[in-house]
Every structure is written in C-alpha cells, then in structure tokens.
Symmetry: C2
Subunit: 177 residues, 2 copies
DNA sequence: ACCTGAACACCGTTCAAGT
DNA sequence: ACCTGAACACCGTTCAAGT
C-alpha cells in the first residue's frame, strides 16, 4: 500500500539552511528540520543517511549559491571580493559551515572557477592557480576573522578590506610589469 | 567537613586539549574530560561553568601557545608564516577551534602582536595594522582551506604557500619603494 | 568543601507497526 | 512505500546526599 510523500529532499535542505542561519549549527537538529517540513524526525532518514550527511547537503547548497554569486559578479578582483564579503555577511553561518566542513568537492570547484579566471588574466597562466589561491585564502581568512570577531584592535574594517584588495591586486601582477 | 581536591582547572583544560586533538570537537564531552582527569562529569561544574566555557578555555590555551610560537620565531614574514603553518599542522583541531570560536580577546591580541611588529617594519607605521591583517588573514585562510581539504585542484601546496609568502612580502612594501 | 549517584531534558537513530 | 510512536543510547546539567 503506497503512502503519499509528505516532503522532499529539497524542502529538507532548504529548511536546514534556514534553521542554520537562525539558530546556528547546534540548532540544526533533526527534530527542528523535521518540524519545519511538517514531518517527524524519523521520517528524515528515508531521504538522508544521518545528520552529518544532511549538514553536508546544506554546505553544498550554500557553496553552490556562493559560486553563482561570484559568477554573476564583474570579473575583477574588487568586484569579486565585494561579492564574497557580502555573501558572508548575508549568510554568516552558512559561510562558516562551507569553510569548515568539506562540502562537496565539485561544488567547491564550481565556486572557485570564477576566481581562477580573474587570477589567470592578472597573473598569467603559469601562476594562475597560485594566484587564485592567494586571493581566495586572503578573503576566506579575512571573513573568518571578521565573523568570529577576531579583529580585536579596532580600526576601520572596510578600509582594511580595501587595503587588502588593492595590495593583492598589485601583488598578483607579474614581477616585471 | 572539607573534601580533598581530586583535580585542577589546569588538568581539565589540558585533558580537553588532548581529547580535542584525538577525537575532535564532538568528542570533547564532559564525560570524556572527566574520565581523563579521574573524576565524574558532575564534578567538572565545580571549576567550569558549562561545556561552552570549557571549550573557550581550551581555545584560549591553544591561542596562547600559538602566540608563544610566533613570538619565538625569527621576526620575518617567511619565518612567522612557517611557524604559523607548522602549528596548524601539529594541532589542526585546536587551530580550527581558535579560528572559529572567539577565544579570549586578550589571548588573540597577544598572539597577533608579533605579526604586527613585522608588518610595521615592512609597511611603515600608517599601514601597519592593515598590513598585519592582510598577512594574517591570508595565513588563516590558507590553513583553514588546507586543513579542510578545500584545495581541490591539486598542485603543490608547499609551493603555493611559498608563492603567497613571497608575493605578500612584496605587496607590503610601500608603493614608492 | 568537593564528589557522586540519580534524575531530567534533549537529541540521534532504529524499528516494528500503522496506513 | 512512506510515516510514526516507542524505545534505546548518549550527552549536558542539576541537586540532594555522602564524606
């Protein structure tokens, strides 16, 4: 006797993202997600292996949206850095999750593709990958610290971010430019 | 009727650090810590407010050791970057914890002081703080990604790290150098 | 004065029983 | 074929009772 489906994997992941942002990773419980999609916790196990797998799906979905935002930004270092930072401000918990958990490798690769293109244009082919990693690592670290409140010494964070963008752009030019 | 003390706060924090590295943050349970110091879980509440506070103490202890290592490194960008990376490799869970939790602000400030000194010498006083943040953010981001396995596109990570160090050092010099 | 067993709330997960 | 109540293991935390 078939039974009607009362939810979908997409609804579960979407509920997970919403709860993550409002209640943090600790608040992302199976019961909270189940309640939000109108089902009891045990039913989630029909669509998701366990909580860890659900967290991975949430992280991948966030990484995909980050990639889409970077893709639709202008292909310059400042524009992509701004897009990156505004995403982290909009979804701080999701951003943290993507950076700490290993999300789906394919999603991470998609997200980093736009950066690689800009880096190639700026630094030239031989150092394109190293250059992309330099600017990505800086942005990840800056936002990790900003979100964690780790910039203790005050000062203007917006100015510090601009300083970073400007100097990195300069640093990526080939030495004999 | 007084009762003998069967453990100390130091022993608890030290046990916490050990369990953190061996079993991860999820494994850092009150029962595991209590067992390691030879006591039952409820006794921990005599010395620590709750699990969250214990995690904060562990993070602060790790941050203090990181600061000490940076302080004893040679005052150059490459030497401090190497010290930073080797610390993250030695204590990956501790490193992740310090970067994600807000450890004690005072500990974070102590840890970043040596970087500030080098940055001041390289970039000059007006941009010393911005420069320190640039290099610190890069190192934090690089290691966050390296530890998370987020560098998907292969290549030589040691070389990518060296590339970052070299180019950042160059980027920090005043524009008219 | 610290330590512990017992208790409670809460969560992840499994599974037999419903429809 | 999915959904749920019941059950189990495990954890954080409190507290009365021990010494």
């Amino acid at each position: 006797v078939p039974a009607p489906e009362r939810t979908t994997l997409d609804a579960i992941v979407s509920a997970g993202r919403h709860i993550l942002e409002s209640d943090g990773l600790d608040g992302l419980t199976m019961q909270a997600v189940a309640g939000r999609v109108g089902v009891k916790a045990p039913s989630l196990y029909k669509r998701v292996r366990d909580r860890e797998a659900l967290i991975g799906l949430v992280a991948t979905a966030v990484a995909d949206e980050l990639g889409a935002r970077l893709e639709s930004a202008a292909p310059t270092v400042p524009a992509m850095a701004r897009a990156f930072r505004s995403f982290a401000h909009d979804q701080p918990e999701g951003f943290r999750l993507v950076m700490s958990t290993s999300a789906d490798p394919a999603a991470l690769e998609r997200a980093s593709a736009p950066v690689l293109i800009v880096a190639r244009e700026l630094a030239g082919e031989p150092h394109a990958l190293d250059a992309a990693r330099l600017v990505t690592a800086w942005a990840v670290g800056f936002l990790t610290m900003e979100l964690a409140g780790a910039f203790q010494l005050g000062g203007d964070l917006d100015a510090a971010f601009d300083y970073g963008v400007r100097n990195l752009e300069r640093a990526l030019q080939p030495k004999d430019a």
